[in-house]
Symmetry: C2
Subunit: 222 residues, 2 copies
Amino acid sequence: MANHRKAETTRERIIESARSLFAENGYQKTTVMDISKAAGLSEAALYDHFRGKEDLLLTIPDLWVAELLEGLDEQMFGLQGAFVKLRKYLWWNLRRVEHSPLDAKLVYMFLKHNASFMDTEVYGNVKKLYAYLINIFEEGKASGEIKPDMDSYAARSIFIGTMDYMITRWLLKDMSYPLLESMEDVFELLVAAFASKEYLAAQDNWRKTRLASGAAQTGGEG
Amino acid sequence: MANHRKAETTRERIIESARSLFAENGYQKTTVMDISKAAGLSEAALYDHFRGKEDLLLTIPDLWVAELLEGLDEQMFGLQGAFVKLRKYLWWNLRRVEHSPLDAKLVYMFLKHNASFMDTEVYGNVKKLYAYLINIFEEGKASGEIKPDMDSYAARSIFIGTMDYMITRWLLKDMSYPLLESMEDVFELLVAAFASKEYLAAQDNWRKTRLASGAAQTGGEG
DNA sequence: CCTGCAGCCTAATGTCATTAAGTTGAAAGC
DNA sequence: GCTTTCAACTTAATGACATTAGGCTGCAGG
C-alpha cells in the first residue's frame, strides 16, 4: 500500500496542490482541473490516484489528525498532574494549527461541520483525541485537583468547544493575529471551572506567598 | 419591496422548500431544480425571486437570526443578575435551535464556518448577539457576581464556544437526544469559571443552609 | 521480443447553475 | 373596449464542472 516509487511522488504532489488550493480558495471554488494543473497532470490522471474530489478532501485531514495524535502521545509522556496535561493538550493542539494552518483550515472549516464527518476515518482519530481528555479529567478527580463530582463529559464539551471556537475564529479572521494571544486568560478561566476548592485555595496561597516573598514578575509562566 | 400579493406567497414557498431541502440534504447536494420543483415552479422562475442559490442560502438564516435577536431583547427584559441573564441567554438560544432545527442547521453547519460569513448581513446580527454577552459580563463584574479582573472576551470565547459546540454536536448527531440534556452540568461549570469568590461562597453557603434546614431534593433547580 | 500494466493522455458524458428569449394574463391608461 | 406594460412563468440554450471511456507508452518480467 505504500510501496510505489513514482506513484508516491505524484500522489504527494497532488495532495500538496490540493492542500494549498482548498485552503486558499475553498473546496467548492477549487476545480479538479486547478488541482491537476498545479500538479502537472491532466484531470483524468488524478482519478488514477484518488476516487474523486471528495476523497481528496478527506485524505488531507486524515494525515494531519493522525500526526497530531501521534505527537500528542509523545508530548504527554512523563507529564504529571491534570492541569499540566490539560495545558499541554491545549498548547500542542494550537501549535499544530499554527504550524500548518492550511490543513487545520480543512479540518475546522470543511470537515468538522460536515454531515458525513462522523462516517469518515478521520473521526476515529478525533474520537481518540477526545477520549484523552476524559482520562485527564478522571485522573484529576482521583488526585483531588479537580472537583470530585464534576461531569467529565460536560467539562470536555467546554474544553473542546472553547478550543475549537478559538481556532475557527482565528482561521476565519485569516490568521491576522497570534493564535495564542488571549490563551492564557482563557486557560485560567477553564482551570477555575474544573478545579477543586482545595486546588484553587492552594493556588491562591502560592500566589500570595510568592507576592509576599519578593519579586512579582509580569507573566504567569511556570 | 414587500408589497406584492402572489409574489410574497411564492417567495415564501421557495424559502420553505429550500429550508427543508438544504437542511435535509445539505447545500451542495440540493439542486435548484429540487427546490423549484418542491415549490411548484420551473427552475428559471426561481431566479425572478432570488439572485441565485447562494442568495437563498443566506436569506434563510438572516431571518432566523434577526428573530432570535428580537426575541432575546424581550426575554431579557426585567431580569437582574449576571448569572440569571447568562442562563436565560443560553436557554433562549437552545430553545430557538430546538424549535427550528432546520434553520439552525443552516446557520451552524453552513454559514458560521463559511469563509465569507463575515461579509454577510447575518454577521451584523450575530455580532449584536455576541455584544450582549460582553455587557452581561461587565455588569456582573460591577455587581460583584463575577471576578473583577476577568477578561470578558476570554469569557465570551468560552461561553460561545461551548454553546456552539453543544449545538453543532446535537445537529451532527441528528438531534437524536434532548439538546438540554447535560446543559445543567455545563452551566454550573461555566458559573464556576466566571464567578467571584464571594459569589461562590454565598452559593455554597446557601446550599448548606438548605440541606441543613430539611428536605434535600434531587435536582439543582432554582 | 512479447505481455501486462501503471501512469498518462485526449475526448466524451452527464449534472448542474445560470441566462436567453419568449408566453400569458391581468391591471392601467386612453 | 382596445392596446400597452409588466410581473410571473415557461421552455430551451449555455457554460462550468466532475467523472468516465478508451487509448497510448514505456518499462519490468518472462
